[in-house]
């Protein structure tokens, strides 16, 4: 009867608001998530859903102001970081635990530094290694991300690598911090399919071997499901559904998730019409009241426009925020 161990990351009710010159824009309106030891979770959402802002908050990359961060709690292995995350300068603390891989490797590496310089700087300054140790460690890191001839490649500049290779270097750079959680923000969106497949393999391999936590942010369920075991679906700054990836892909419960799955083109269907969700995802700051999805929802009733649905537990530790769960489940059966 012992209590389960505290999760690696436990974030409760994150809200991020941007104060622009003429108005305030709520980008994240209440996100709670947990990442277990060695667990990979995905955040899935369309543009403007707040998924990237969530990732950047955890790394302390948002400038405050204009951003204002509020949380009910943020715990890292039980350690309380609730106050720290809302303050400027969190990145110093954050990067002892989190590291990030960005969407665009072409611009994320400093063009005037050799990649050896970039890697060694992190190892020397953040991990306190000697220059010689750092060099050896840098070679090991490049080996770990499967860049051959690592010793010589350290002397190259970023532009001398292909996009896929640059993303591998970014991953090596993230690993140099020995993070406990790797945050990958659309890490393969800028890459070709064949390159994407190899990078996804690499991320999965590294995450499993090192038993790291991982938060994988993407707009593509198929990509996410290659790497993670649990998914959070975001819409207009909130999480609308969460659950194990298999469950979620086989039995989506929220009408938005259902619609998203159905409207994604698939390789095994030819020359068909896609059941599209009408309307557009709201821009940040323009989310309708109640359930933000209601104007596009086929099940919406009056209550959806007035009252925000609370996340309710359904089978297998999945949560869904919808007023019409039963009808959604029924309709799914008949689809």
């Amino acid at each position: 009867m012992n209590t389960p161990p505290a999760p690696l990351v436990d974030l409760g009710n994150l809200r991020v608001t941007f104060r622009l010159s003429d108005r305030t824009v709520p980008a994240v309106r209440g996100v709670s998530l947990t990442v277990g030891e060695g667990e990979a979770v995905g955040i899935l959402g369309e543009s403007g859903s707040g998924k990237s802002v969530t990732g950047r908050t955890l790394l302390g990359l948002l400038r405050t102001p204009p951003a204002r961060i509020e949380v009910d709690h943020l715990r890292f292995r039980g350690e309380d970081l609730s106050a720290a995350v809302t303050r400027p300068g969190f990145s110093g603390q954050a990067t002892k635990r989190f590291a990030m891989v960005f969407q665009n490797p072409f611009t994320a590496l400093n063009p005037v530094f050799r990649i050896g310089t970039t890697l060694c700087e992190v190892l020397v300054k953040r991990r306190g290694m000697s220059r010689a140790d750092a060099r050896r460690a840098a070679v090991d890191l490049l080996d770990a991300v499967h860049i051959s001839d690592a010793g010589n490649r350290l002397r190259s500049y970023p532009h001398e690598f292909s996009g896929g290779m640059q993303q591998r270097i970014m991953i090596a750079l993230a690993l140099a911090l020995e993070p406990e959680v790797l945050i990958a923000d659309e890490p393969t969106t800028a890459l070709d399919v064949t390159v994407q497949a190899r990078i996804l393999d690499l991320l999965r391999e590294i995450q499993r071997e090192r038993r790291m936590g991982m938060i994988f942010i993407s707009h593509d369920l198929d990509v996410v499901s290659e790497v993670v075991s649990r998914v959070y679906v975001m819409y207009a700054g909130r999480i609308v559904e969460t659950g194990p990836v298999d469950e979620l892909s086989r039995r989506p419960r929220h009408p938005y998730t259902q619609g998203l799955w159905a409207s994604a083109p698939r390789l095994d269907r030819y020359k068909t019409r896609l059941p599209a969700i009408p309307g557009n995802p709201p821009a940040p700051g323009h989310a309708p009241p109640g359930c933000a999805f209601h104007p596009r929802c086929r099940l919406a009733t009056d209550i959806c426009a007035q009252e925000r649905p609370e996340p309710r537990p359904v089978a297998d530790g999945a949560l869904v925020a919808c007023h019409h769960l039963d009808r959604a489940a029924q309709e799914r059966e008949t689809v």
Partner: protein, 301 residues
């Protein structure tokens, strides 16, 4: 106007990730600009009005002695005092402002017209036309700063007409470059390709689609060019190779006053402050325009 586009750099700079940045509103841009361009505009407008009305509002004849006292300090009769020939400094400054404004407008209009057309054509046509224009620009740019203007005046001789020619030639390459650069970059924008794909002719593309985008950038450059022209005219006149005495300009007034700097420094200070104020006004205005038309500073020269 770029401000409405999704990839507005100012929003991302404020910390919103690009894809989640909302478009910035035009009103917000204007508010951020603040009072500076307005103040600049007010100053420039004031000087223009004064220059236009100078012959009617001058209290004294600026060309002849109207006082019994040389180098007199400010007084009720002579607001800015008198100079070495006991002429009224205030009246001379009013008359001098006409030269500054005249040269400013003539040069700006010439450069905008000639440089704008050359830049637009070179940037749009490319190929041989671009090479020829580019070569001319290279040659003009090979002579540094004010030396080109001095050299041209040296050979053409002094006088307001030659000053205008010299300064226009000096400014031409910058305008051509800026307009050419803007044209090139607009020409590559997808909406221009879309226009070609729809079947538009060159004239329509240039006038309806490329021109309006380039015009903003050209106006910014022209405003800065106005300041430059005022400054160069003053400098040439100060050096004694521009507008010749006894016709007063702020530049040659300063030059004249320098010999008697210890005796009456105000004779140099008043025209100097006049120039500074006018130039500040134009630069304030230009800065404001630049923030609106070229927020990323891509076409600065």
């Amino acid at each position: 106007m770029r401000t409405s586009e999704l990839t507005d750099p100012t929003s991302t700079a404020e910390g919103l990730p690009e894809e989640e940045a909302p478009p910035r509103r035009r009103a917000a841009v204007l508010r951020e600009l603040g009072w500076m361009p307005l103040a600049g505009f007010a100053v420039v407008a004031f000087v223009i009005v004064v220059a236009a009305l100078a012959p009617w509002i001058m209290p004294h004849d600026p060309l002849v002695s109207t006082s019994t006292q040389r180098f007199a300090g400010p007084s009720a009769a002579h607001w800015f005092g008198t100079d070495g020939y006991s002429r009224d400094v205030f009246s001379r400054m009013l008359l001098g402002s006409r030269v500054s404004i005249f040269v400013g407008f003539v040069v700006t209009a010439t450069v905008l017209l000639v440089g704008g057309v050359l830049g637009l054509v070179a940037g749009y046509a490319g190929g041989l036309v671009d090479s020829i224009v580019g070569r001319i620009v290279d040659v003009l740019l090979a002579v540094p700063g004010i030396l080109l203007a001095i050299a041209i005046v040296a050979f053409l001789g002094p006088g307001i007409q030659n000053v205008c020619i010299a300064i226009s030639i000096h400014q031409l390459p910058a305008m051509v470059r800026v307009v050419r650069g803007a044209t090139l970059s607009v020409r590559k924008r997808p909406f221009v390709r879309a226009g070609r794909a729809v079947g538009m002719g060159h004239t329509r593309l240039l006038l309806r689609h490329i021109g309006p985008f380039v015009l903003g950038v050209a106006m910014v450059q022209a405003t800065l060019g106005f300041a430059d022209a005022v400054l160069y005219e003053a400098a040439l006149s100060y050096l004694g190779i521009g507008v010749q005495l006894p016709e007063p300009t702020w530049g040659n007034m300063i030059s004249e006053a320098q010999s008697f700097l210890t005796r009456q420094p105000l004779n140099a200070i008043f025209p100097g402050l006049g120039l500074t104020l006018l130039l500040l006004g134009v630069n304030f205005l230009g800065d404001g325009l630049r923030d609106v038309f070229d927020p990323e500073g891509r076409y600065r020269s």
